[in-house]
């Protein structure tokens, strides 16, 4: 059931710079939540540190503003404990691909049903514009004392290689496109990733609104582009195609959906296979929501479950001892 996007905003003053790409992402996010009709109390927005980290405070849904780089592991814990929740990570490019790169890759391996929205402005804004892992080698944005000495990561290629089963790119100021992609990502069953190109009006004077206006083109407008793995045997070819497409960077930059694979089991599916009843009785519901309760097991249950460690004592009878004893 669709809702009013405005009901997903908190009354807080948004303290991003005027003209910041984050406003577009916030708008697209609240429209996504509204159009998908997601109940705020069953939705959890998890963020890391930096400008993007403040996003949850502006959204009227559960917000968990965590540590630099760790949004994905906190989100993972929330989702594992209660798989019924919709969990969306908002992180910056430094957060997800610099300090949190290990977690970014690990989520792909698990295909846990979480959406990762990367606010990609290629700089560390809150610390005054240092180069992030997505800024190309040799580029000098305005606060850098020297041109960037490190190469850029390719977020889309990395996400495909890591195992994300929905990988897309969009643009912060094309709210309609971004919302469409976000809705697909949130609705996807499994780990989904959206690389959101976002101008930083204060520190990034290279990848500007004007630049993106010229460079971006839509994959969906490209003849014959089909990112979907229709049967499991297509997976290698579709992955290769997505990674090849992701190499385009410069005067022509594609946005849209790069890769969709609905065939891989989600982490929740894998857990359900190992722990029957996992979805029905997830960790969050193991104990009742009361101040005092009894343990989930009786002493007898514990002895059965951990019976592999129970040793019964057989008291010695008068004739019980043999061996070396008998020669005393």
């Amino acid at each position: 059931m669709a809702r009013d996007p405005r009901s997903y905003r908190t009354p807080l003053w948004v303290d991003w710079c005027p003209g910041c790409g984050n406003f577009g992402i916030l708008q697209a996010l609240t429209e996504t939540l509204a159009e998908l009709g997601l109940p705020p109390e069953e939705t959890v927005i998890v963020s890391g540190i930096g400008c993007s980290g403040k996003t949850p405070h502006y959204v009227n849904a559960n917000g968990v503003h965590t540590l630099h780089g760790r949004a994905i592991p906190y989100a993972t814990g929330v989702k594992l404990a209660n798989p019924g929740l919709t969990v969306i990570v908002n992180g910056g490019d430094g957060d997800l691909l610099g300090i949190g790169a290990g977690h970014f890759v690990a989520l792909g391996r698990r295909n846990l049903d979480i959406t990762v929205l990367m606010h990609n402005n290629q700089v560390y804004g809150l610390t005054k514009g240092q180069a992030s892992p997505t800024l190309p080698y040799g580029v000098r944005t305005k606060s850098l004392p020297k041109p960037n000495i490190q190469d850029m990561l390719n977020p889309v290629a990395l996400a495909v290689a890591a195992g994300y089963t929905f990988v897309a790119r969009s643009y912060a100021l094309d709210i309609k496109h971004l919302k469409t992609v976000m809705k697909m990502a949130v609705s996807h069953r499994g780990a989904s990733f959206v690389d959101i190109l976002q101008p930083c009006v204060t520190y990034n004077n290279v990848y500007t609104v004007q630049f993106y206006r010229r460079a971006l083109y839509r994959l969906e407008d490209t003849d014959g582009w089909d990112p979907v793995v229709h049967s499991p045997d297509e997976e290698p070819q579709k992955k290769a195609q997505a990674i090849a497409k992701a190499q385009e960077w410069g005067s022509r930059i594609p946005i849209g959906v790069f890769y969709v694979n609905p065939h891989r089991p989600s982490f929740e599916d894998r857990l359900e296979a190992r722990i029957p009843g996992y979805r029905q009785h997830p960790p969050a519901t193991r104990l009742p929501v009361v101040e005092e309760t009894a343990p989930p097991y009786t002493s007898g249950d514990l002895k059965n479950i951990f019976g592999d460690r129970i040793v019964r004592v057989r008291r010695r009878g008068s004739a019980g001892r043999q061996g070396a004893r008998s020669d005393e």
Binding site: E41, T66, G277, P282, P295, Y297, I305, R321
Partner: protein, 639 residues
């Protein structure tokens, strides 16, 4: 040999051999065999950070009346699979002790054993040189025999050849039975019948009857060859229970967590914590507990905390190096009043340190780690049974007061096997603290004045969490008055815990409970596994007319400062010597005593070799203290 002449436990057996050669099998078979007769057993493993080849050994302490709190030397019987064990442990045997060795190794010289560390080799050589003994197995055995050690040679190769022929085994398959020769020797000499040994085999090789049969056949032959030996007289068990739970410290904590209603355990593999998570994972189907192997410890504590916010009882388990990485997450949990439990098994540090050896070096780390003022509860268990109970209490405190709890243990406990009572949970209450089911719009997660605000779970209301300082809603705030209210809110919880968990009998304990501090010759101040062996020392001294007692700290945060100050001062003014005993070089618990209670100690007995404090060396050192020696003594016994 009358075993009673030596300090407890009644019997200490040592089995030694290369890592990965089945030594754990011998130790387990023996432990269960003794337990199945009714003995109390503590079996402790010493090993290198290595998979195959380096020297390892297990001490099996057996007592008819009480669970040993530690071990002592000399051992009463040692049975070795290899030559390195003979060289490494010849000093651990005394007149009357048994040594069982492989006669086929008699000609092996020390310098031909590549797995011996150079410094260890030099130390052993120097020792043998002083005794005028050639560094050859046969010569060492002869020297021991000359001193009154009862040396027993078995031809391992022949024993295995017989087995090979009888069951048509390959050479490689037969070699895997070497550990059984060792186990059977110990069993035979210490008066276990073959029938009794079979209990241990049946346990170890459950579902594999052919292995039980083959091992038993080998044991029978060992028994036959040792039949003429005078056995060590181990008294029958005193009023044994109907059954024991035979668990490592890791397993005790795992079972405690399950009883506490654990929903999710996250971890990253690290010694000596990993077995706890592994054991839980092996039982996931029957418990429903999700065990999550994270990509690192940063993620492990983050995932556990996320799960806690959603309403699960959630924990992670690690050791020092992993805890280092978890500290940012610990701080976030403090800031967000998140009930997460961190089980911390101490090993030798700093850095990688001694990965497979024990310590109590992380006390100050557990108590203070992290920037800012970050209140947490720290409780330190001293035994398997208490570790199981504390695993439950850790969650109760975490949820009741909405803060992180560090459950502090160590490798000595983690990797030792003990016979304990199966847990009884009837009457046990899981305290979850103030929870609200569906608070509706306008819910304030951090409602003032607190200190403990009603907690709603993610999924049942809208709320915000942030690592920034925040207002009652969980939104970022840098307003000074909010800052004051929130800092006080978080820190006052420790005062609440202090009010609810009594100092005496809760956060600290006297052993014996009825000891009168004003009537003492000796007061030991200790904690964790060091306190456990100290309690054995107290018993030993009491039986010999020394008025001794132990003051053990159970909670280091909030610290029981009042009772420590009172007991120590009472004992001191009555003329008692007050001694700190712990497994670190800086006397960390003594430092906390000084910080919170202002007390000083007459002596500090410290061990930081990574090996546990043994009762005999502790008794020696306490004897010196009683004779007036003060200051610091560094204990160092054990290979």
């Amino acid at each position: 040999m009358e075993l009673e002449d030596r300090p407890p436990p009644a019997l200490v057996a040592m089995v030694g051999g290369p890592q990965g050669s089945g030594l754990e099998t011998s130790a387990q078979v023996l432990t269960v065999a003794y337990a199945a007769v009714g003995y109390r057993v503590l079996a402790s493993r010493e090993y290198h950070s290595n998979i195959i080849g380096r020297h390892s050994y297990t001490l099996i302490g057996v007592d008819p009346a009480r669970l040993p709190g530690g071990h002592r030397y000399p051992v009463d019987i040692a049975a070795f699979m290899d030559a390195e064990s003979v060289f490494t442990h010849y000093q651990d045997l005394a007149p009357g002790s048994y040594l069982v060795y492989d006669t086929g190794l008699a000609g092996v010289e020390l310098h031909r054993i590549p797995s011996v560390e150079p410094e260890t080799r030099r130390r052993i050589l120097a020792g043998l040189e002083k005794l005028g003994v050639e560094p050859k197995v046969g010569s060492v055995v002869d020297m021991l025999a000359g001193r009154g050690v009862r040396t027993v040679g078995l031809d391992f190769r022949r024993l295995l050849a017989t087995l090979r022929e009888r069951y048509g085994l390959t050479y490689a398959a037969a070699r895997r039975f070497t550990s059984m020769i060792v186990a059977a020797s110990v069993a035979a000499v210490t008066g276990l019948s073959l029938e009794e040994l079979k209990e241990g085999l049946g346990y170890r090789f459950r579902g594999r009857p052919h292995l039980v049969e083959q091992n038993l056949a080998l044991a029978e032959e060992v028994y036959r060859q040792l039949a003429s030996l005078p056995p060590l007289r181990l008294p029958d068990p005193e009023s044994p229970p109907d059954e024991y739970m035979v668990v490592t410290g890791n397993e005790a904590v795992a079972i405690g967590k399950a009883a506490a209603g654990l929903g999710l355990q996250s971890y990253y593999p690290i010694t000596p914590a990993q077995d706890e998570s592994f054991y839980l994972e092996a039982h996931e189907e029957s418990t429903g507990i999700v065990v999550f192997q994270a990509e690192d410890e940063l993620a492990a504590i983050a995932a556990a905390t996320g799960a806690a916010l959603a309403g699960a009882r959630a924990a992670t388990a690690t050791s020092g190096p992993g805890f280092d990485l978890m500290i940012e997450g610990l701080g976030w949990a403090c800031m967000n009043e998140a009930p997460v439990v961190v089980t911390l098994y101490q090993r030798g540090g700093p850095s990688t340190g001694l990965p497979t050896r024990g310590s109590q070096e992380d006390l100050l780390d557990a108590a203070f780690a992290g920037h800012g003022e970050c209140p947490r509860v720290v409780l330190a268990s001293w035994s398997h049974e208490e570790a199981m109970r504390d695993a439950v209490e850790a969650f109760n405190l975490a949820e009741e007061y909405q803060l992180p709890v560090v459950h502090l243990l160590d490798k000595f406990l983690a990797n030792s096997v003990a016979t304990i009572e199966a847990p009884r949970v009837e009457g046990l209450v899981l305290r979850r603290g103030p929870l609200v089911e569906r608070p509706g719009a306008g819910y304030r997660r951090f409602a003032l004045p607190g200190p403990v605000s009603p907690r709603a779970l993610l999924g049942r209301a809208v709320m915000w969490y942030t690592g920034d300082e925040h207002d009652e809603y969980g939104h970022i705030s840098e307003e000074p008055s909010t800052r004051i209210a929130m800092v006080n809110k978080r820190l006052e919880k420790l005062d609440m815990v202090a009010r609810s968990v009594p100092e005496m009998g809760g956060r600290a304990a006297l052993y014996p409970e009825d000891a009168d501090p004003a009537q003492l010759d000796l007061l030991i101040y200790s904690w964790g596994t060091a306190a456990r062996v100290s309690a054995d020392a107290v018993d030993y001294l009491l039986a010999r007319g020394v008025r001794a007692a132990l003051l053990r700290v159970h909670y280091f945060s909030p610290y029981p400062g009042g009772v420590v100050s009172r007991i120590v001062e009472e004992a001191r003014s009555a003329g008692a010597k007050v001694v700190d005993v712990e497994h670190n070089r800086q006397a960390q618990a003594a430092a906390l005593a000084k910080m919170y209670s202002g007390v000083e100690f007459d002596a500090r007995l410290l061990k930081y070799t990574g090996r546990p404090i043994y009762l005999h060396e502790l008794l020696d050192a306490l004897g010196s203290v009683l004779r007036g020696q003060g200051g610091e003594v560094h204990l160092s016994y054990g290979a």
